[in-house]
Every structure is written in structure tokens, then in C-alpha cells.
């Protein structure tokens, strides 16, 4: 239970960062926190207390196995997260080159 609560705490920290920070890079870090809290939850979903890795050979035939599917999913999700974070940081660098600042209060050409 404590693990799930910590996972939720990580999500809240990320959300807090995205909402309150004014620095572009810190907003990106907040988003990464949120993403990784969900990845952690995904791994926790597949975890079974006291179970073994699902590799079948002669010695291990039956018994509780951990769920391997969330692990495959989380790897895919991490790769996707890598792509979107790289995209975000590339845009952040370009923003810095154009505006000369990371402060989002000064990056306000559009009205929203």
C-alpha cells in the first residue's frame, strides 16, 4: 500500500511542478515526474508478492509468476516518453534562442 501512496505522491509532485513553476525546464521536469509515476504504477500492477520471473524450464514448472505484460508495456511507454521529452527539450532550447529567457511569463506572444 505504501508503494502506491508514494507513487501517487510522485504524481502530485510532478503536477505541482507543472502548475507552479515558471521555468520552462522545470515544467518539463514536472511532466517527466508525472510520466514516471504512471510507469511505476504500471510496474506495480504486474508485481505479485513472492512470485518468480515467468521463465519456464525443468526446475520451475508451476507456482505464482509475476505478470510480464506490464513490463513489456512499461518499456514501450518509456521509449515513447523519451521521444516526447526529447521533443519538449528541443523546443525549450529553441525557445531560449528566440526569447533569451526560460521564464514563461516573458514567453507570451500568443493569447491562448
Amino acid at each position: 500500500m505504501i508503494l502506491y501512496l508514494l507513487c501517487f505522491l510522485l504524481f502530485l509532485i510532478g503536477l505541482y511542478g507543472v502548475i507552479t513553476r515558471r521555468n520552462v525546464i522545470k515544467i518539463v521536469i514536472g511532466l517527466v515526474f508525472m510520466e514516471f509515476s504512471v510507469f511505476l504504477l504500471l510496474v506495480l500492477v504486474g508485481y505479485v508478492e513472492g512470485a518468480e520471473a515467468p521463465i519456464l524450464d525443468e526446475t520451475i514448472i508451476s507456482g505464482p509468476f509475476v505478470d510480464p505484460l506490464p513490463q513489456a508495456m512499461v518499456l514501450t511507454a518509456i521509449v515513447i516518453g523519451l521521444a516526447s521529452n526529447a521533443m519538449l527539450l528541443a523546443i525549450a532550447i529553441r525557445l531560449y534562442k528566440k526569447y533569451g529567457t526560460f521564464d514563461i511569463r516573458k514567453i507570451n506572444e500568443l493569447k491562448g
Partner: protein, 512 residues
């Protein structure tokens, strides 16, 4: 025939891979390959459409057979709704790729543009075909990451800011959707939409289902830019290059937002009254506020972007009304009418909003401004742009005999028959307001006296751009034919049937 389904994903992805490699050495390769690929896919969708409805087509990736009735492969499912969406995405994509050939002359890095366009297309086709929750997420991310890059394609101040805003909100939406998928997997221990639907139907855990539904509706609502989640759309859609705006507004928000909502909430979850009312309310609020916000815009593309929010509201309201009636076990004929109105408006909106953004691109291409106040008198120097945009403006504001009139009429009739009198009144009112701001657009852009600028140099845009605009304008008129039963049965009815017989989706997939 089901062996052809993966082509919709493979062809754009292979094209996106080949363009940066071969396009570097072969000039013009990127344009030819993209256009041919999208044309081929459009022809393939028409073939699927004409082959007629029937059992949903199924393709198991890797050829894994179900074990004890449990599907373990990744399924690509092409049923009526999927084919309907594929038709919208591929036809608009083809016309946009033709338009881009001329429009992109003043940009560098054309290879990157066409590669990203192909990638976005592959992602959208994947979302529409995927029969699996996690792959829906993966394909959605492919499409949106490509669209983030395309919004920032101009790399000027505004484009970068819009792209950053879009990415932060899009990132939050992706996190929420992934969380929803995780929760569903936790509960049902399956990722297959049909299989999960079977399990959710037999479970009694209402609070869990509502909790997950709220996360999914927030995530997909952000992607579809329903109001309160709309903040990124006017910036992103107005900053992107015009052909991309046409793709984003015409196709992307429907394929990854509305389609996903329809598929998950009708075919996977059991219909519930609360969720149906929530979805309809979101749609109605978007419909009203989007058009009021659009009235005050002087930037052509911002006005069109706000109008997209409003028109998407029509679609969601139409489908949502059908959902309420079905959830309350009301008259099924009225529900079918409301849903077919929503879907009809979806295909119409792809045609006229795509055309309007292409018109805005043509105006920007010639005059280098998007501000209506500094434009005027373009009807003489750009006759094709003027006449096609007049057609699109009449269509979007619901003037007969254009397609927008019929879809709005169907939605309004369904609202009256279903006793949603407030929604019917709002739909009529918003239609009038839409007419008002599109007449403003027409007057200031095409009919006022020419502005102070030098008007001599402005001439009609090149052939490739005209071609796309004319084809879309013909579609705006031609789609009215969907009102006739013979054509409607081929195009619209299979999709409506999938939504109406929502509970038959799961058995028909797992039973195969």
C-alpha cells in the same frame, strides 16, 4: 481481404522511413511518394467501403491464435466505424499532400515535413484500426509527437510557443490516458478492447468504472479540445503551416479524440447515464463558447480554430444525445438519428474546415498576412480561393444545399424528437452565430475595398493548391448526397450500426 488491413499502418510508416534517406539524393521524391502513398490508401478505403458491411475484419499481428477464447494477439479491427474514419483521414491527407507540394516552396527541410506528415498519418490510421488499448495509446503518441514537431515547423517565436503549450497539455493528456489504460489492465487483466468489454460488462464495480472513465474522458477530451480543455487548440492550429492546420483541425482531433471516446464509451464500457450526460454537456458547452470566442477574432486562422471547437461540439452533442437515449432505453430510431447526425457532421467538418484552412493558407501565401483588417478585395485577384471559401463558409454555417445544412438539420431534428429542446435551440442559435462570423470573414477578406497595400502583385495560387481546394469544395456539395438512402447505406450506416449495437462489438471480435 483482412490481410490488407496492416497496409494502412505500414505504408505511411515505410514512406516516413524512406523519405529522409532517398529524398536527400532524389529531388522531388518526397512529394511524389507521399502523394502516391496517400492516394493508394484512399483507393484502398473506397474498396473496403464498397466491399460492403458485414462481419468486422480482423487481423492478428504475428498470427497468434486465441487461447481458450482469450485473444492474445494484437488485433487490428476494421469495422464500419473504423473504415468510415479511415476514409476521412486518408482522403483529407491525400488532398493536403497535393496542396503541400506548392505551399512548401518557401520552406526549407521539405523532407522532414513530408516524413512527419506520413508519420502522423500512420499514427492516426493505427489509432483508428487498433483493437487494443495499449496500441491505441502507442499509435496516438506517434501521431501527436509528429504533430508537435509539425506545429513548430516554422521555428519562429509564435510557432515555438504554441508547440510548447501544446506539448505540455498533450503530455498531461497522455499521462492521464496511460493511467486509465493501466487501471483497466489492473481490473480486467486484458488489453483487448473486446475482451475488456466482456469482462467489464459482467463486473459490478461501478465506482472503479466511473473513476477510470473520468480519467479517460479528461485525457481524450484534452486531445479533442473540448472546452474546458481547449486552451492549446487556437494557438497550435493557427501557428502550424496551413496544410497541417487542415490536418489537425480536419482529422487529428477527430481521429484521436472523438473516435477514441466513441469507441471506448460505446463499445467497451457499458453505457451509463452519468457519462452520457457528461459527454453531451461537454459537447454543448464547446459548441456555444467556441462560437462566441470565434466572433471576436481578427486573425483568420485563429477564428477558424475557435470555430473548430464549436463544430466539434456539434459532433459530440449529436453522438452524446444518442448515448443518453440508448442509456435510458429510449427510442432507438431517435438515437440512431442523433448518432448518424453526429457522424455526418464529422465527415462534413473534415471537408469544409480542411478547405477553409487551405483557403487561409492560400491567402497567407499570396498576401503574407492573416489579419482580416489589412485584407480586402481579394475576390477579383483570387477568384478560385474566393469562390471555394464562399462555398465552405456557406457549408459550415448551414445553408442549403451544402452538406453542413443537412447534418445540422439531422442533429436538430434528433434533439427535438428526443425532447432535448434546449440543445435544439442552442444548435439553431449557434448556427446563426456561425453564419455571422463567417460573413464577417467573407466581407473583410474578399469583398471590402482593397487595403492600402499594393494589390497588383496578388494573383491566384499555383495549380496544385487550386486542385485541392476545388476537390474539397466539390466534396462540400457532393457530401449532401449522403442524405439519400442509397448512398447513406454504403457510407454512413455501417458506422452507425457499430455504435448502435454497442454490446455486439465484443462478442463479434472474441467470437471470431
Amino acid at each position: 481481404m483482412s490481410q490488407l488491413i496492416p497496409l494502412f499502418v505500414i505504408i505511411p510508416l515505410v514512406a516516413a522511413f524512406l523519405i529522409p534517406i532517398i529524398g536527400k539524393f532524389l529531388d522531388g521524391f518526397q512529394k511524389v511518394l507521399t502523394s502516391i502513398a496517400f492516394l493508394g490508401l484512399s483507393v484502398l478505403t473506397v474498396y473496403f467501403l464498397c466491399a460492403g458491411p458485414g462481419e468486422p475484419l480482423l487481423y492478428a499481428v504475428g498470427g497468434w491464435e486465441p487461447v481458450r477464447g482469450i485473444p492474445i494477439a494484437i488485433y487490428l479491427v476494421a469495422d464500419g466505424l473504423s473504415i468510415f474514419m479511415l476514409m476521412i483521414t486518408n482522403v483529407v491527407g491525400f488532398l493536403v499532400s497535393i496542396y503541400s507540394i506548392s505551399y512548401l516552396k518557401r520552406f526549407t527541410a521539405q523532407n522532414n515535413f513530408f516524413a512527419l506528415l506520413c508519420l502522423m498519418m500512420g499514427g492516426m490510421n493505427g489509432v483508428v484500426l487498433s483493437g487494443d488499448l495499449f496500441n491505441l495509446f502507442v499509435f496516438m503518441e506517434i501521431a501527436v509527437i509528429a504533430s508537435y514537431a509539425l506545429v513548430a515547423f516554422g521555428i519562429e517565436k509564435q510557432e515555438l510557443e504554441a508547440s510548447f503549450k501544446y506539448q505540455v497539455l498533450g503530455g498531461i493528456a497522455s499521462v492521464l490516458i496511460l493511467f486509465g489504460v493501466t487501471m483497466l489492465y489492473w481490473k480486467t487483466k486484458t488489453l483487448n478492447i473486446a475482451d475488456a468489454g466482456n469482462i467489464l460488462r459482467s463486473s459490478q464495480d461501478r465506482s472503479f468504472v466511473i473513476f477510470t472513465q473520468l480519467f479517460l474522458i479528461t485525457g481524450f477530451g484534452l486531445k479533442a479540445a473540448l472546452i474546458p480543455f481547449h486552451a492549446w487548440l487556437p494557438d497550435a492550429h493557427s501557428s502550424a503551416p496551413s496544410p497541417i492546420s487542415a490536418m489537425l483541425s480536419g482529422v487529428l482531433i477527430k481521429a484521436i479524440g472523438i473516435y477514441a471516446i466513441i469507441r471506448l464509451f460505446f463499445n467497451m464500457f457499458t453505457l451509463s447515464d452519468e457519462m452520457a450526460v457528461t459527454i453531451t454537456a461537454l459537447g454543448a458547452v464547446s459548441m456555444v463558447l467556441g462560437s462566441f470566442l470565434a466572433m471576436y477574432q481578427w486573425d483568420i486562422k485563429r477564428m477558424l480554430a475557435f470555430s473548430s471547437i464549436s463544430q466539434v461540439g456539434y459532433i459530440v452533442t449529436g453522438v452524446g444525445m444518442g448515448m443518453i437515449i440508448l442509456a435510458r432505453n429510449g427510442d432507438h430510431r431517435v438515437a440512431a438519428l442523433a448518432i448518424s447526425g453526429g457522424l455526418f457532421h464529422m465527415i462534413n467538418h473534415a471537408a469544409f474546415k480542411g478547405l477553409l484552412f487551405l483557403n487561409a493558407g492560400a491567402i497567407e501565401h499570396e498576401t503574407h498576412t492573416r489579419n482580416m483588417k489589412s485584407l480586402g478585395g481579394l475576390s477579383r485577384s483570387m477568384p478560385i480561393t474566393a469562390s471555394t471559401s464562399m462555398g465552405a463558409s456557406l457549408a459550415i454555417s448551414g445553408i442549403p444545399p451544402f452538406n453542413g445544412f443537412f447534418s445540422k438539420l439531422i442533429i436538430i431534428i434528433a434533439a427535438i424528437q428526443g425532447k432535448f429542446y434546449l440543445l435544439a435551440a442552442l444548435a439553431v442559435l449557434i448556427s446563426i452565430i456561425t453564419l455571422a462570423y463567417f460573413m464577417k470573414f467573407q466581407k473583410y477578406t474578399f469583398f471590402n475595398k482593397p487595403g492600402a497595400r499594393d494589390r497588383k502583385k496578388i494573383k491566384e495560387v499555383p495549380f496544385a493548391m487550386c486542385f485541392s481546394m476545388i476537390v474539397l469544395a466539390v466534396l462540400c456539395l457532393g457530401l449532401s448526397l449522403l442524405i439519400f438512402p442509397g448512398i447513406r447505406e454504403v457510407v454512413l450506416d455501417p458506422a452507425v450500426r457499430v455504435i448502435m449495437n454497442a454490446s455486439e462489438y465484443a462478442p463479434s471480435i472474441t467470437g471470431l
